[in-house]
């Protein structure tokens, strides 16, 4: 484990990861009983977003994508208000005007979320530019999927960040590793001619690394370097975090095809459903992290079970809050247009 992190921080990250998992599972379950519209879940990518965003300070900003739920929870946004937003309720983070695609919480460093592929990249660069110009010791993180590299916006954005040496971190969550192109009724994967995504970055003279996104320690290490580079004015960094796409995120509409995650899978192989042995046994970054912490003696099984119980209760309450919340008043449709 990272020597610089105290046990409480390690356990705190574990708690956040479990909370994200339970949030997304609760949402998928809710979608089975009622129409919540189209959405995307962060299951299987918690080990990237949580340690990466844990390194940010208040005032740093992050720009996310359509797959944003995990990022917001990682920085402390209230899941109940997120769930309410996803259901279009007045109590939602965006008062029902953003929905799952645009969840934003300015006070937590998510000024706005774009669901346009590649859309947030130039904007994140702009925040980096503002920080540099305002003399603020802040960092702007841009989170995006591998598909964004197919957009010209990406190229324009990283070029400007590089030539102006801005405090921007490009964190690419590549969940298309095992696939190229789309299979029937599944999400597309990136179609890029480059051998490695990082190859596309090198001409800009921006440091670029590719890491295992399910390895909390690796994410923490590379993100730490990137944040330090940015804060000392040394310019942008590009990190590609590889993740295996969770089976439930392959269909266009997320499904709990693996069933709920049982944290006991981390220590009891026999409980793992045979159809998903590879996923729960080796790929799932959340369970890998539980095993690491158990092996390092940072937590006990009882701790994990207790954290999980709290997370489940919290998300059940979040769903209730969202369901019980009122819809916005009709006339609110015309509000928030102009300051």
């Amino acid at each position: 484990m990272s020597p610089r992190l105290r046990s409480s921080e390690l356990v705190g990250q574990l708690r956040t990861m479990i909370r994200i998992r339970r949030f997304e599972e609760a949402l998928i379950q809710l979608s089975e009983s009622q129409d919540v519209g189209h959405f995307h879940v962060y299951v299987g990518q918690e080990a990237t977003g949580v340690p990466a965003l844990a390194l940010l300070q208040p005032g740093d900003v992050a720009y996310s994508t359509h797959r944003n739920h995990g990022h917001l929870i990682a920085r402390g946004v209230d899941p109940a208000r997120m769930m309410a937003e996803i259901l279009g309720k007045a109590t939602g983070t965006n008062k029902g005007k953003g929905g799952t695609l645009h969840l934003a919480s300015n006070e937590h460093g998510f000024p706005t979320t774009s669901s346009s592929v590649g859309g947030p990249l130039p904007i994140a660069v702009g925040s980096g530019y503002a920080f540099r110009e305002l003399g603020l010791d802040r960092v702007s993180v841009c989170l995006f999927g591998d598909g964004a590299l197919e957009e010209g916006a990406w190229h324009e954005a990283i070029n400007i960040a590089a030539v102006w040496s801005l405090p921007v971190i490009f964190l690419c969550e590549n969940n298309s590793l095992e696939a190229l192109g789309q299979k029937a009724n599944e999400y597309p994967s990136s179609t890029l001619a480059a051998q490695r995504l990082t190859d596309l970055v090198r001409p800009f003279k921006v440091p670029a690394t590719a890491i295992d996104g399910a390895d909390v320690r690796a994410v923490h290490r590379e993100m730490g370097r990137a944040v330090r580079r940015a804060r000392r004015g040394a310019g942008p960094t590009f990190i590609e975090a590889w993740t295996v796409r969770w089976a439930g995120s392959r269909p266009i509409w997320p499904q709990l095809v693996t069933g709920e995650t049982d944290v006991a899978y981390a220590w009891d192989d026999t409980a793992i459903p045979p159809d998903h042995a590879e996923w729960f046994g080796r790929q799932d970054g959340l369970l890998r992290y539980v095993r690491d912490l158990l092996a390092a003696g940072r937590v006990t099984r009882a701790d994990v079970v207790a954290i999980d119980r709290e997370a489940r209760a919290e998300m059940a309450a979040a769903v209730r809050f969202a369901l019980d919340s009122p819809y916005p008043a009709p006339e609110e449709a015309l509000e928030d247009m102009y300051a």
Partner: protein
């Protein structure tokens, strides 16, 4: 004031539109540390370019020349605004805004609303619009009508040195994104400016550029100048034309327009956008609906014709709304009573 009067304390100074514009930018840089200029073509490639170069010499750290990456640097302007700067982003020739359209209309325009009011984008996007002389189909656009169909942006279309100077202050102080278009042919227009002060001209307040009783002309940007010239010609024929300049389309001072139409009973809308779904269409439709009973004759639109702007000077002159076309429309309005 005359053009020859020397600058004096708290007196209006005669200056060109380009000078007033750049003076406004200078005041913006002086008055607010958060202001950054991103771009170098605020006055296009005209002879006034040196004024912008001088600004950069005076504020070398705050005037940035970005690469030819419209989607990249316009987006960067949005992010910079979100994070505390007041960027004035120059997209140069208005036709290039299409390279950055997703950022302007999908991102900047929507952020406040999508976030339920949490996040502001106090950015200004500047373009040089209009038929400039030989610009042909890719350097002559007036995209304001399309922008008008996009809720979330404010639209500022100055027509005089005084207006560009004063409106810029309001734009700068606004918490919301502003689309600001200058017509390339305005840069040489001269007029009085209270240069010592920097008084804001509010958005949403139309300006009666010339009072009259027979016909109302509503025009924006350079078409105000053309309309004033036409009004002068018509006065010689004994027709009294009122020229109303809304100055901003969002917000729009519809009341001022309706009040004038109630006085004159006749309306000519002059607009350099293409005719179909242009600015003139919306103004005509609004007046046709809300001043239906006051109209003594059909509303006439004088617009650019619905073709890509042709290169040849002969064709270009035929396409654009000219003084002669405006006069013809005014005469037709008078004749059809």
């Amino acid at each position: 004031m005359t053009a020859t009067s020397p600058p004096a304390e708290s007196a209006a100074r005669q200056m060109s539109y380009a000078e007033a514009l750049v003076l406004g930018l200078r005041r913006a840089l002086e008055s607010d540390d958060r202001v950054r200029l991103m771009g170098q073509y605020f006055v296009g490639l005209t002879e006034h370019r040196q004024l912008v170069a001088d600004l950069r010499d005076d504020f070398p750290q705050r005037v940035w020349y970005p690469p030819i990456s419209e989607i990249g640097y316009v987006g960067a302007g949005i992010g910079a605004a979100i994070s505390g700067l007041r960027p004035i982003v120059d997209i140069a020739t208005a036709s290039f805004i299409f390279q950055a359209f997703s950022q302007v209309v999908n991102e900047a325009a929507n952020v406040r609303y999508m976030t339920g009011g949490q996040t502001s984008v106090p950015a200004i996007f500047h373009v040089n619009h209009g038929i400039r002389g030989g610009g042909a189909a890719q350097h002559s656009h007036s995209p304001q009508a399309m922008i008008w169909n996009t809720p979330g942006l404010q639209i500022m279309l100055p027509s005089t040195p005084r207006d560009v100077y004063g409106l810029l202050r309001t734009a700068l102080e606004s918490e919301d994104p502003v689309f600001w278009a200058d017509h390339v042919k305005l840069f040489d227009v001269t007029g009085p400016v209270m240069a010592q002060d920097w008084e804001a001209i509010p958005f949403g307040v139309a300006d009666i550029k010339r009072a009259g009783v027979d016909v109302t002309i509503v025009a924006t940007s350079y078409m105000v100048q053309r309309s004033l010239a036409a009004a002068e010609l018509m006065a010689a024929d004994g027709v009294s034309v009122e020229v109303i300049d809304p100055r901003t389309l969002v917000p729009l001072d519809l009341d001022a327009i309706l009040a004038s139409v109630h006085r004159t009973g006749r309306l000519v809308v002059v607009d350099e956008c293409h005719r179909s779904c242009g600015v003139g269409s919306e103004i005509s439709a609004l007046v046709a609906e809300y001043a239906f009973d006051a109209l003594k004759c059909p509303i006439r639109r004088v617009t650019a014709l619905d073709v890509p702007i042709p290169f040849s000077p002969a064709l270009e002159a035929f396409v654009e709304p000219s003084e002669a076309k405006i006069c013809a429309a005014v005469r037709a309005a008078m004749g059809s009573v």
